[in-house]
Each structure stands twice: as C-alpha cells, then as structure tokens.
C-alpha cells in the first residue's frame, strides 16, 4: 500500500458500492474509479475485493447486472441497485452513521 492511501475497511466496501450505484448503473471499473475519485484518491479498492463483493451483492439480490456499452462504445457489465438494494443502502447508511458517532465518542470522550 502506498503511503497516504487508505485500505477500504472490512465491511464498508458493500456500503461504498451501494452508495456509488444509487446515482445510476455502473460497471466494475467505473465503480472502482468513482470511489477513488470521490475520496480524492485516498480510498483504494482492490480488484480482488471489488469483484467478489459485486458477485456477493448480486447473489443477495441487492444489485442486478446487465451487459451494456460504455460511452466509449466498449462492452461492459453494468450493475444497478434493486429496490431491495435501496432499502439495504438506507440500513447500512444509518448503521454507518451510528458507528462513526460511537467511534468518535469513544476516541475523544466528552467531559
């Protein structure tokens, strides 16, 4: 891992993927790039984690996939949120917020 880069925390990759997909269908490469871009290149998604995660989410039917064509006219497999995925996203988001709040409290106790 290069210095200054963060590894995606265990369990948060699913949330990041769902979050990314809520703006519309995207292929694997695009998802990875989007996460990196939005985090100002701080978050690095390993392909070895990304694809298993995509397949896992598809198996849980939170996302679905379809072959399509990119803007550059290249074939790619696009993933899209299902309605179950949208619900899951809401759940994961609130859980994440709770986690962040709790972590903050633990790390810097008030009073």
């Amino acid at each position: 891992m290069e210095p200054g880069k963060l590894e995606v925390m265990q369990g948060t990759l699913d949330l990041l993927i769902l979050q990314t997909l809520q703006w519309g269908p995207q292929h694997g490469h695009g998802i990875g790039q989007a996460i990196r871009a939005k985090s100002d290149d701080l978050l690095q998604v390993e392909h070895g984690s990304l694809y298993p995660a995509l397949h896992r989410l598809r198996r849980k039917e939170w996302i679905e996939s379809e072959w399509g064509v990119t803007n550059n006219n290249q074939r790619a497999k696009f993933y899209r949120l299902t309605s179950a995925g949208k619900r899951q996203l809401a759940v994961e988001e609130s859980r994440w917020k709770l986690l962040v709040k709790t972590m903050a409290r633990v790390m810097r106790p008030e009073g």
């Binding site: 490469h29 070895g48 694809y51 298993p52 198996r59 497999k77």
Partner: protein
C-alpha cells in the same frame, strides 16, 4: 436432467465472469491510451494494475457457493492422476484399506442384522419381553408361568397386552407325504395383536378357542409355501398333527417369526387348570406391547411392584425362592439376542481396533509420501497457495482412495459373510436378515472415508506447514513428521497388543473348555430325537411299552452295544429343574436339582459311571416300586460319606404337593447338563416309565462310526411305527461341538483380527524403520568408513525396531488391563490378567517386529561408504 442444466448455467456464468474481467482491463487500457500512453504499453500497464486475474476470478467464483465442492472434485481428479503414477503404492493402500473395511463391514452386518435392525413389527420399540428373574439364585432370567401372566395382564397399566407362548412344541405332521416333525408353538390368541401383525390369509385364533383347546392351526408363510405350495385353498383344510386333525384357519406373513424363525406353526395355547399354580410350571415365554409413550424402565418398575404384591399374597409358594424373585422387562430385540450380544460387541471392538491400526498405518504411509512431495508442495505454497488450500487439496486427493477402499471392502465383506454365516452359533437370532443392506453399505463408505481423512489430517498439516526455504534447500530430503511417525507406530503396536491379548484370552478360554470333562463318553454315540404321538399312545404305560419295544429292536442291530432314551440330552441348555427333599433329613433345605427321565440302558449308553448301587434295569417298570438315581454331587451334599442307596427322595412343590417317595437305587457320575461352561445343579434321574415324557432323545452306543448306524436305527424305528418322526440326528461328538460353536467363532475371529493387526502394525514398523534407516545411510557410511563393522550397523537399525516394539508393547499392556476387565464375563477358565496371554502377546509382537526390522537392518549393513558419501 437437472444437472445438465446446472452444468450449462455454470459454464455460462464462468464465461460471463472472464468476459467481465477482460472488459475491465480493456476499459482501463482505453483510458490510458486516451491519456496519451502507447497502446501496447497501456495494455500491459492495465493488466499489471488489475492484478492476478485468476485469483480475482476464483475469489468471485467463491461467492457463488458451489466453488468449494467443485474445487474438491478437481482436487480429487488430480489425486487420481497422482495415484495412477504410483500404482504399487496405490495398490498397497487400497488393499490395506479394503481389508480393514471388509472385515469390519462383515462384522457390522452381523451386528446390524442381529442387534440393530428394528424388528419387522409396527412400533417395534414398544414390544418387550418379560422374564421371571431370581438373580441371587443364579437365574438372571428364566421362563414365566401362567400365574404371572394372569397377574400382569390383569394389573398392568403400562402394558397394552401380554401374550404367552409355549415355544417348543413338536408336531408330527402326517398324511401329506412322509411324516415330518415340525417345530411349532402354542400361543395365546392375542400374540398377533401384541406383535401388530395381521394374517396374510384367513384369521387368527380367538380367546374362546384357547379356552376349549380347539384343534385349529395357523401356518407360517414358509410352511405354507413349502408344504402347501402357497395355495389359498389350504384354509379350512384338515391336517394331521400328532395323529389328530387340526383345521388350518390362517397363514401369517413372512415377517411373523415369533419366537424364532424356526417356528412353522401356531396352535391355541390351552392352559390346564392344574397347571395354574404359583411358583410352578415355568414353561412359557411372554411378550408384551407397552402403551404408547411408556418407557421400559416405567414398565419394569410397575411389573416389579406387581411381583412384590404377588409374593405377599402367596408367601407359602414363594418361600423357596425367597424375596429375591421378580420379573425382568427388556426390549424384545435385545432379549432374544442376549446369548450372542456380548460376543458380537467384542468382535465389533476388534474390528474397530483393526480399522484404527489401518488408519494409523495409512497415516504413516501418507507422511512418507508427503515428504516425497515436499518440493511440489513448497512450489505450490510459493505460488500463493495458502496452508488451508494445501491441506484441503491433500485431503481431496485421498477421496478416490476412500471410495476404492469402500468398494473393495464391500466385495470382501460379501465374500466373508458367505464364509461366516454357516458358522454362526445356532442360537443367533435373525440370521436370515444378515446381509449387505443399505445401512451396512453406508457404514462401509462412511468408515472408509473417515479412515482416509483421519489418516490424511496429520500428514496434510505437516505438509502444509513445511518451511519453504528449508524444503527447497534440503533437496529431496525432509525429515518433517519424524516424531509423529514414531508416535503412530508406537500407538499401532499398543492397539495390536490389546487385540492380540484379547485373542489369546479367547483362545485360552476355548482351550480350557475343550479340556472340560462333561462326565460322559461321547465317542461312538449316536443321538436322535423322537416326539411321541400321544393321540396314539394315550396312557403313560403305552408310551413306556412303546419305548421298550423300540429299544429292543435297536439293541438287535449288529454293532449296537447299548441304547436308551432320556427326555433331554446332556449339554442341551434347557432343563426341567426343581427342588427335591430327602426322607430322613427333614431339617435339610430343599435341593434345587436337574430332573431327567431315563429308560434302562441310558446310563450305560451315555457312558455315565455308576459309583454305587445299580442302574435301572428291565425289572423296573410302571408297576414296580418307584426307583431313582442321584448323582455324586447330590450324594455328597446330602449324605456325606454315608451310602445313599436305599434312602428315599421326592420332588417338592410347596402347597402344590409333593411327588411319590422314590427309592435311591444307585449313585452315578455328575454330568454337565446345561453346557460345558455352566454347571449349576446336581441331578436326579427318574425312571421314564414312572415319570413319562412326550419327547425323548434316543442314544445308541455303536461299535463303529455312529453316523453309519443312522439308517439301520431309523429303519428299526419305522418298522415299529411307520408314522414316527425322527429329528436332530447327530453324533454325540457333534452335539458336544455345538456347545463350542460360539467360542470357536469368537476365538477364531478375534484371532484373525489379532493376526491382521499384527501384520498391519509390523508393516507400519517396517516402513518407519526402513525410512529412518534410509535417512541415516550417510551416517552409516561414515561410521563404516571409520571402521564400524556391519554387525554394529545392523544392530543399530534392529535396536530402533526393538525400541519401538518394546515401547508400544508397554503402552499396550497398560491398555490391556481395562480391556481384560471389560471382557471378563466372556472368559472361561482364564483370568482377566492371564499371565500366559500377557506374555504371549508382546513376545509374539516383538518377535515379528524384529523380523520386520531385519530387512532394513541388512540393507543398512550392506551400505557401501564410497557410494553413500558420494551420493550427496
């Protein structure tokens, strides 16, 4: 064809995944080109940035769920290829596995067929057998009497119903071809209902038919097929049984086989009024169906209560038996296998030990193989295989071995069963249901796979943890697992010692039994059984006159030196027993004795020594004064050194009355009436003419091979009465041998397991010793170059073998202690810590171990220093 569809879908998904990963790289490359990179360079960079596509694909595939199974089969297929490369090694381990699985599967099929298989009746776990019991008198369980049955039926709430059966009733079937003797049973009307079986044809008997002793008969399926050709028209037909017409009212289905499958006929059980006496006539067996949801323990405690009340109600009748009298309730399936149960458990345990040894042996072989493959595995680890992955692969490779072992084992078991079944003891129940049924086959497959995987776990751990650098450095030589190997050999030897020790104990029990003197002279003695047709010879006097005429005819056959009839042969296991009292010994306790009714000539023919007085003669008869014989044990206990001849005794049955006073005319030698192993009671003999029995055993002393007289003797019987059936024809020597059957089998099989274990363990020892010697060749070379003599090197290798053998034997002897205690009740004439067995087992093992070590030792001693030193 769902699996084809599944396979197609699988392939599609597979293509889809690689396509997806390729597309990813293409997009990345395109972006790089757009950013101004050289296309070729961009393509390469994109690949590098993507990482190991195979690994990523595999990780993604893993989420599909089927990946584990698929990889397992891939590994198994790879294993098959590896096994084919080393055919000799493969043959050895498959053969070894098949041997172990075959032996244990054969034994398991016996255990399953006899003990585990549920009875063929509905809700079999609700069916129990009931026995009388007086443990402190040495009778753990014995037959029941009618009074007990009445009480149980009337008072028990936990039992739905209780049926009563008189098991051994001889029926002479005449009128349909040559006369036949059938084994039948008289049973109460409710027996089919208790067992839950409906007749195949017709009906079962009724309570009313029981009460009036109706002449109706129910046929077994076997008899119906054999004798009546399976003709439904048999219903309503009259058949001649013991000279009286019986109407056939029903045919039972094949699974109905109570009390045993030998029973071919059931007639109503009529209980005469004078037979219904407390404390007397224990001649029935009983079976009951418990109410739903009732446990055996619950039924037992209720029956115990009923028995206690009975004894309080009739204190007079039970004074002889004392307070220690009750009833035993046990599941029917366990009950009728009681005689062979413990022997079967011993055999199963021996088979288990053999499997364990085979498993450890396989472990040793796999360890050695793992070492040979250390480089291959190291390369795999270097290429990124995780330790778990290597472990899983090594286990999956063994899968084909396990299957081959199971297949070979089943074949071997099938062959062994065919060999074994004829030797099973005659009292083994449900022999016809022993076979390779589903659960037995499942056992073979599961046991085989379990053995293989268990054996594979250790080597797989050792292999997967092998140090990368070290292994690559050490060329082909890794010593990983040396300690494990030695531990396995020692454990193998220890288990072998246990099996050998038990085998020696059983063999010595058999030896002790062969030395037992039954008190009679078996050579040149022909025996056969007769059942008298009472319809023809109604009066007792007619029966004894008939016996006299038979014996006179037989004695005239040339070569016959003596002949007599007794109601039951010695060593028959079943006896009429009861208390007798003596004339002028009023204060003396009653003596529990065996009763036999014998004709003149019996004592002489059987070769029982006459010690005092005289035996029965032709002058003793129906009308002459009552005469009897007592055996030496009774004489000594009652009269001490005084002469009993001329004194009197009689049977004593409490308030039920007493027999006539009988004069003792002679004292004869004691005979083993129950079996060679049990000698429970002293004996008295009544004169057959004065205490007549319907069933007789004819014994004929001959001047030559007894079998050659069979025809002449049977001809004489038929000449007297053409309708007389004759059955169970045997020489006395065969009859005695029958007593040894189950011991023969146990000793033989445990011995076989012992020898097999010995061979396996010594194979393992050989492997380890020769492997270690191989590793030390360089050392031996140096030693010999420095002047060590070959004998010294030989001694070092042999010493290694001896060390392992002695260590294993020591551990084994420690284990033998509790094992001896566990099988104590099955031994005869030897103690659980029999010194001879304790010495024989390790001595045999160490001797064979040294022989096994001889090969590697000689090879090591032949080391040429020049060759071994240069070889590195």
């Amino acid at each position: 064809m769902t699996w084809i569809r599944w396979w197609r879908r699988r392939r599609l998904e597979e293509d889809d995944l690689s396509e997806e990963l390729r597309a990813h790289v293409a997009i990345e490359a395109r972006q790089r080109v757009e950013a101004g990179q050289d296309p070729l360079e961009a393509e390469r960079a994109a690949r590098r940035a993507f990482g190991n596509a195979t690994q990523i694909g595999e990780a993604a595939r893993e989420t599909w769920g089927w990946a584990g199974v698929e990889r397992f089969f891939d590994d198994a297929r790879f294993g098959l290829r590896m096994l084919r490369k080393t055919p000799a090694w493969t043959a050895v381990i498959c053969g070894m596995l098949a041997l172990g699985i075959g032996l244990s599967t054969a034994i398991f099929s016996l255990v399953y067929g006899v003990l585990l298989q549920p009875l063929p009746y509905p809700q079999p776990d609700r069916i129990v057998a009931l026995w009388s019991s007086a443990p402190s008198h040495g009778y753990a369980y014995f037959n029941v009497n009618a009074v007990e049955w009445f009480h149980w039926r009337a008072e028990s709430k936990s039992l739905e119903d209780v049926a009563l059966t008189r098991p051994i009733v001889n029926f002479n079937l005449t009128g349909d071809g040559s006369p036949q003797r059938l084994q039948g049973a008289r049973s109460t009307w409710n027996l089919p209902q208790v067992l839950g079986v409906k007749p195949l044809l017709g009906r079962v008997s009724t309570e009313e038919e029981d009460l009036r002793d109706a002449k109706v008969a129910i046929l077994s399926y076997g008899l119906w097929e054999r004798q009546f050709g399976g003709d439904a028209g048999v219903l309503g037909r009259r058949i001649q049984l013991n000279g009286e017409p019986f109407e056939v009212i029903g045919v039972m289905p094949p699974e109905y086989r109570y009390p045993t499958s030998a029973i071919e006929l059931w007639t109503p059980l009529y209980i005469p009024k004078d037979e219904v006496r407390e404390g007397l006539n224990y001649q029935y067996i009983s079976v009951a169906r418990m109410q739903p949801g009732i446990s055996v323990a619950r039924a037992q405690s209720e029956i115990t209560g009923i028995m206690r009340r009975m004894m309080q109600q009739y204190p007079q009748e039970y004074q002889y038996t004392g307070n220690d009298f009750g009833a035993l309730v046990e599941p029917l399936a366990a009950s009728d296998a009681a005689a062979v149960r413990s022997a079967l458990y011993v055999l199963m345990a021996s088979a288990g030990c053999l499997l364990l040894i085979g498993c450890m042996n396989l472990g040793i072989l796999l360890l050695a193989r793992g070492n040979a493959r250390a480089r291959e595995i190291t390369v795999r680890v270097a290429l990124g295989a995780s330790a778990g992955r290597v472990r899983r692969q090594m286990l999956a490779e063994l899968f084909p071995v396990g299957l081959a072992g199971a297949a070979g084992g089943v074949l071997l078991a099938w062959w062994m069963l065919r060999l074994l079944l004829p030797f099973l003891p005659a009292n083994t129940p449900r022999v016809d249901s022993i076979g390779l049924q589903g659960p037995v086959l499942a056992f073979a497959v599961i046991a085989s796979l379990a053995v293989v995987f268990l054996a594979g776990i250790l080597p797989a751990r050792v292999a997967s943890s092998s140090q990368l650098v070290q292994a690559l450095h050490q060329q082909s030589r890794s010593v990983a697992g040396g300690g494990t190997r030695h531990a396995l050999v020692v454990a193998q030897i220890a288990v072998t010692i246990v099996v050998l020790f038990s085998g020696a104990l059983f063999a010595r029990s058999l030896g002790a039994l062969l030395k037992v003197n039954p008190g009679l002279s078996a050579p040149n003695l022909l025996t056969m059984h007769l059942a008298v047709t009472r319809a023809k010879y109604r009066e007792d006097a007619q029966v004894s006159a008939y016996y006299d005429r038979l014996l006179q005819r037989i004695r005239q056959v040339p070569g016959v030196t003596a002949a007599g009839i007794v109601n039951r042969l010695p060593l028959s296991g079943i006896a009429q027993t009861g208390p007798v009292e003596f004339d002028d010994k009023p204060g003396m306790p009653k003596f529990d004795t065996d009763w036999r009714s014998a004709t003149p000539g019996y004592i002489e023919a059987m070769g029982i020594p006459l010690l005092r007085g005289r035996v029965f003669t032709a002058r003793d008869g129906v009308t002459s004064p009552a005469v009897g014989l007592i055996d030496e044990h009774l004489a000594r206990r009652v009269f001490g050194s005084a002469d009993p001849v001329g004194r009197r005794f009689r049977l004593w049955a409490g308030s039920a009355g007493v027999g006539p006073w009988t004069e003792i005319v002679g004292v004869v030698g004691h005979v083993l009436n129950d079996s060679l192993e049990k000698d429970a009671r002293p004996q008295v003999y009544w004169l057959e003419a004065q205490r007549t029995q319907d069933r007789g055993a004819l014994v004929v002393k001959t001047a030559g091979r007894p079998e050659s007289f069979t025809q002449a003797v049977v001809e004489q019987i038929r000449a007297e009465d053409p309708d007389q059936t004759v059955y169970d024809v045997r020489s006395m020597e065969q009859w005695v041998a029958r007593n040894l059957e189950s011991r023969d089998l146990t000793a033989g099989l445990v011995g076989l397991f012992g020898v097999s274990s010995l061979i396996l363990a010594c194979l393992g020892l050989y492997g380890v010793v020769s492997y270690s010697a191989g590793l030390r060749l360089r050392e031996f070379g140096i030693r010999m170059a420095l002047g060590a003599r070959p004998a010294k090197v030989r001694g070092m290798v042999l010493g290694h073998a001896a060390q392992l053998a002695v260590l294993g034997s020591a551990v084994g002897l420690l284990l033998a202690w509790p094992v001896g205690a566990a099988i104590k009740s099955l031994l005869f004439g030897v103690g659980r810590a029999d010194a001879v067995s304790l010495i024989i087992a390790p001595a045999l093992l160490i001797a064979v171990a040294l022989v096994a070590g001889l090969g590697p030792a000689r090879r090591a001693a032949r080391t040429d220093p020049a060759v071994t030193l240069r070889a590195e």
